[in-house]
Structures are given as structure tokens and as C-alpha cells.
């Protein structure tokens, strides 16, 4: 018996570096693809004329000052926030509504299966396909204007994506359409995890459907909801592809978001230094959000 323990101890000592071999490829890749680039972008943000010119010089916080003094930067911050907050709010509402719909006993289960597939569909489409599809629908001669004017709701054709007033709301609408399924699927999984006897007990106590929703469903969903809201905020803030393939940030700066702002700084005017400074700012914003996300996760685990 004691011999057995001894050999296993020796074995354990002998193989103690084994896990390092197993994580080695992952660690190397993450250092090359994550740590090194992050250090590089921070370094770039304190230098001038990076990438375009061979010799660049340390300029301190100059790039940051340039960015923070640029009114377009602040417009893009505001637009990103508006876009993100409204989108996430409606992702949550629609996701919750659809999840509840798919969880009722009133719909036969074969129909539910079909509905679930349909409801996830928008999420399956690639962003650029979503963008082109909605450019077709929202075209001044497109189907939406056609339907609205036939119903007598509109007298002049609206160019939804190229008018200052309607461009941002249109983008938000498109994003809501393509982004709610993540909430729906996650909430549905959480709904199915709520023990049935909670509801039975409530029925015995004489609660109606609405009361059950307020006192059982919502509190049970709260932890999951909190963490997907944080995740969705982090994801939606990254918006670039949708803006870039519909409005390009225009008209004027109506739909300029941080993503398109940085892209333009880098590739349209080749100012990689200030673009790096802006990248570091968006990185810091994401880190703050992710700290909140980790906190929300901890609350759930407790």
C-alpha cells in the first residue's frame, strides 16, 4: 500500500511538467496573436508616423491629445453608445419575448421546433449579407417604401440609409433584427432550467400567469440576463462591418462609430499613429466592460 503511494508520488513529480507541453501551442499562439499586438499598438500610440515611415519618434501623449480634440471622435463615441445601448435593449426585449413564446405549452412542439429554426435564421447570416439585403429592402425604390406608400403611410420616398435623420435608426433596426437570436437561445435554455415545481407551488398559492412571470421567471432569469447583457454590450460596441458595408459612416458623420473612425484614420488617411491611440482607447473601454462582465459572472456563481 505505502509502496503504491510512493510510486504514484514519484510519477506525479516526474510528469509535473507535462501540462506545460500541452498548453505550449496555445500559449505561443496567444502571445504572438494577442500579447505582442497589444504591446505593439500601445507602443505605436506614443510614436509618430508609424508603419508609413521607417523612422518614427516618441511623441508622448500627442496622439491622444489629437484624438481627444477631434470632434468627430466624440461624435463616433456618442454614436457607438447610442447604437449599442438601444440595440442591446431591444435584443433583450425581443429575445425574451420570443423565448417565452417558444416555451409556452400552448403551441404544439413540432411547430415550436419550426419556429425556433426560423427565429434563429437572422443570426446565421453573415454581416455583409445582412447589410446588402437591407440595402435592397431600404432602397428608395425598395419594397419597404413601396409597402408604406401603398398603405398610405408615406407620401415621399425616403432614402433610409442616406438621410441624416434616418440612417442611424435604420442601422439600429437592422442590428436588432440580426442580433436578438443570441438572447433568445440563451434565455430559452435558462427558462427550461427553471424547476417546474416552482410554478406548481405558485399555482397552488393562487398566482396568475403574470404574477408567476414577475415573481418566478424574471428573478430566475436575472443572472443569465445580466451576463448576456454584458457580453452583448462588448460585442455590439465592436460594430464595424455593418456600418462599413451600408453607410460607411455617413451621411456626413451621422453613423460614424468608433470602428469606422479608426478604420478611416488608418486606411483612408494612413495616420496609423492616431488610429493606434484610438485603438488603445477602445481597448480600455472594453476592459472596463469586461471587468463588469466578470463581476456579473461571479454574482451568478455565488
Amino acid at each position: 500500500m505505502s509502496e503504491n503511494v510512493n510510486t504514484s508520488l514519484i510519477k506525479r513529480k516526474k510528469i509535473s511538467f507535462v501540462p506545460y507541453w500541452f498548453i505550449l501551442p496555445a500559449v505561443i499562439l496567444l502571445i504572438v496573436l494577442m500579447l505582442y499586438p497589444i504591446i505593439t499598438v500601445i507602443y505605436y500610440s506614443f510614436m509618430d508616423k508609424v508603419i508609413t515611415v521607417k523612422e518614427s519618434h516618441f511623441v508622448g501623449f500627442k496622439n491622444y491629445k489629437t484624438i481627444l480634440a477631434d470632434p468627430v471622435f466624440w461624435i463616433s463615441v456618442k454614436n457607438t453608445l447610442v447604437y449599442t445601448i438601444i440595440s442591446v435593449f431591444f435584443h433583450m426585449i425581443i429575445g425574451l419575448a420570443f423565448a417565452l413564446l417558444l416555451n409556452t405549452d400552448l403551441i404544439p412542439s413540432f411547430l415550436k421546433g419550426l419556429l425556433r429554426v426560423c427565429f434563429i435564421m437572422p443570426w446565421v447570416l453573415t454581416v455583409t449579407i445582412v447589410a446588402i439585403l437591407w440595402r435592397l429592402i431600404l432602397n428608395p425604390d425598395g419594397i419597404l417604401n413601396y409597402i408604406l406608400s401603398n398603405m398610405g403611410l408615406m407620401s415621399t420616398k425616403i432614402a433610409w440609409l442616406s438621410e441624416v435623420k434616418t440612417a442611424m435608426p435604420s442601422l439600429i433596426f437592422i442590428n436588432i433584427w440580426s442580433g436578438y437570436p443570441y438572447f433568445m437561445v440563451t434565455i430559452l435554455a435558462a427558462l427550461q432550467g427553471i424547476p417546474k415545481d416552482y410554478y406548481e407551488a405558485a399555482t397552488i398559492d393562487g398566482c396568475n400567469g403574470f404574477e408567476k412571470f414577475i415573481y418566478i421567471t424574471l428573478p430566475q432569469l436575472k443572472p443569465v440576463m445580466l451576463s448576456i447583457i454584458m457580453l452583448d454590450l462588448i460585442w455590439t460596441m465592436r460594430v464595424f462591418a455593418l456600418v462599413w458595408s451600408t453607410t460607411g459612416g455617413g451621411p456626413i458623420t451621422a453613423t460614424e462609430v468608433l470602428g469606422s473612425y479608426i478604420y478611416k484614420k488608418a486606411y483612408n488617411i494612413l495616420d496609423f499613429s492616431t488610429a493606434s491611440a484610438a485603438s488603445v482607447i477602445i481597448l480600455l473601454m472594453s476592459i472596463v466592460l469586461s471587468i463588469f462582465y466578470v463581476k456579473a459572472q461571479k454574482v451568478r456563481e455565488d
Partner: protein, 284 residues
């Protein structure tokens, strides 16, 4: 008594009607754009904005699809996307399985640090890495190649894959490994011959999700390639838009074709796909 039963039946029926209306409205909201994409793809280009608009094409035509299938540039977009997505999926799975095994089965100094790093990388926005990646890829002389896309896509599929695989391995009791150990199997054999086969559902879920994530990748595909031959589907479709701004039926045909691979994977592996999708939030 009979009266109240009657009224319960009545409210139930009303609820059903209400629900039906809700379902129909939701379906129109969700499905109309997708149906419209398909309908437009089989219209002739002159019919697309013609008034009155038609919901069923007057004359269905596969002309747009023919154009796509006879254009080697367009087919190239699909080929590129397939190559990049498959390569990233395989590489991500191999590296994640190895790392997940270590995280799940061993305690070692530095584990917490690496784990924290893996979790936090998920919060980094892709745009923040765009500029350093550009510099790096040019320096490595792989700018405008598929290698650039394969390498950079892994930065976001890898952390996800590692966390997924660690979670799956954790759900398999460690005691079961001992049986293989008794047979004289080393750590690599335990991982490869025992854990991998038993975790196949988890591996499929991770793989499916990785494939779709890569298939949809846009920012790096846009900035790290330049020539038309190296473009992937998401960027290629957009290029088509620039060149033929008004050939809507062709663009919709490309969109339909571009969605089919992901749709097929989704329909075939729905269970795994949903597991992958919810893993981030439901599992902790």
C-alpha cells in the same frame, strides 16, 4: 361550476388566437427579409424595382445563379472561405483539445494566470488589433495570402475553443482516466484515445462554432488581403456591390449561396450549434 369551466375554455381560446397573431407578426418580421432575398435572387434584374412590386416573380429565372456559377472569381470567394474556415477549425480544435486537457486534468504553477489571460482576450475588440496585425503580417511577408487570415482568425477562435474544451473535459469524471493509466497509458494516450472520443459532442460544438465564426470574419479579411483572388465570401460580396451596384439579383444569389454552408451546418448540427452558442453564458 360549469359556467366557470366554460369561461376558462373561452379565455384559453382567446389566448390561442392572440398567440397565433403574435406568431404571425413575429414570423413576418423575422422571415420576410430572408424570403425577400431568395425571391429577388430568382427575379430578372428589370423586375426588381418595377412597380407594382411582385412578391412572386412573374418569371422565375436562374440567370443570376448561372452567372455566379460561371464566374471563377466568384467561386474563388467560396473556395477561399472554405480553406480558411476549415484550416482555422482544425488548428483551433487541436490546440484547444491539448490546452483544455491540461487545464482540466492538471494543477500547475501559472495555471491561473494563463486561464485569466485566455478569458480576458475575449474582451479585446478586433479593431484594436487591426493595426498591429497589419504591421505584423506585412513583416512576416504573408500579406494578401490566406495564411494571414488563418493565423489572425485564431486569435478569437482559440480562447473560445480552449474554454469550451476545458468545460467539456471537466464534465468527464477524472476517475475514468485512471482506468487508462492502469493500462499503462501516458497523458497523451489518455487525452487522445479516451477523452477525445468521449467528448465528441463537445468537439463538434466547438468546431461548428469555430467554423461559422471564421466564415463570418470580416475586418481582417478586409485589411489583410488586397487582391480579388484572396477575398473571402463576406468581403467578396461587398466587392460585387462596388462593381455592379445595380445587379441586385446577382448579389442576392451570392447572398443565398453564401448563407447556404452556414445554414446547412446549422440545420444538421442544430443541437451542437445551440450548445456552442449558449456555452458562454449558461455554463459558468
Amino acid at each position: 361550476m360549469a359556467g366557470s369551466l366554460h369561461s376558462i375554455k373561452k379565455t384559453k381560446r382567446m389566448l390561442r388566437v392572440l398567440l397565433l397573431i403574435l406568431v404571425i407578426i413575429s414570423l413576418i418580421y423575422v422571415m420576410f427579409p430572408i424570403v425577400w432575398m431568395f425571391v429577388t435572387s430568382i427575379k430578372s434584374n428589370s423586375e426588381i424595382f418595377a412597380v407594382p412590386q411582385t412578391f412572386i416573380p412573374r418569371q422565375g429565372t436562374t440567370e443570376a445563379y448561372n452567372t455566379v456559377f460561371h464566374s471563377s472569381t466568384r467561386l474563388r470567394f467560396f473556395l477561399n472561405s472554405f480553406i480558411v474556415s476549415s484550416a482555422v477549425t482544425i488548428a483551433t480544435l487541436v490546440v484547444s483539445i491539448l490546452a483544455g486537457y491540461a487545464f482540466s486534468r492538471y494543477e500547475f504553477p501559472g495555471k491561473k494566470l494563463v486561464n485569466m489571460f485566455v478569458i480576458n482576450t475575449q474582451a479585446v475588440p478586433p479593431i484594436a488589433l487591426m493595426i498591429p496585425f497589419f504591421g505584423m503580417i506585412v513583416a512576416l511577408k504573408i500579406y494578401d495570402t490566406l495564411w494571414a487570415l488563418i493565423l489572425t482568425s485564431m486569435v478569437f477562435t482559440l480562447p473560445y475553443g480552449i474554454l469550451m474544451m476545458t468545460g467539456y473535459f471537466n464534465s468527464i469524471p477524472k476517475a475514468l482516466d485512471e482506468a487508462v493509466k492502469v493500462d499503462g497509458g501516458g497523458p497523451f494516450r489518455i487525452c487522445w484515445q479516451f477523452l477525445v472520443p468521449i467528448s465528441l459532442p463537445g468537439i463538434v460544438a466547438t468546431g461548428v462554432y469555430t467554423f461559422i465564426m471564421t466564415w463570418n470574419e470580416y475586418l481582417y479579411a478586409l485589411t489583410l488581403t488586397k487582391s480579388t483572388e484572396m477575398r473571402t465570401v463576406p468581403v467578396g460580396i461587398q466587392l460585387l456591390m462596388g462593381e455592379h451596384a445595380y445587379v441586385w439579383n446577382e448579389m442576392m444569389a451570392m447572398s443565398v449561396l453564401g448563407s447556404i454552408p452556414v445554414l446547412l451546418i446549422f440545420l444538421c448540427c442544430q443541437k451542437y450549434f445551440l450548445a456552442g452558442m449558449t456555452a458562454g453564458a449558461v455554463k459558468s
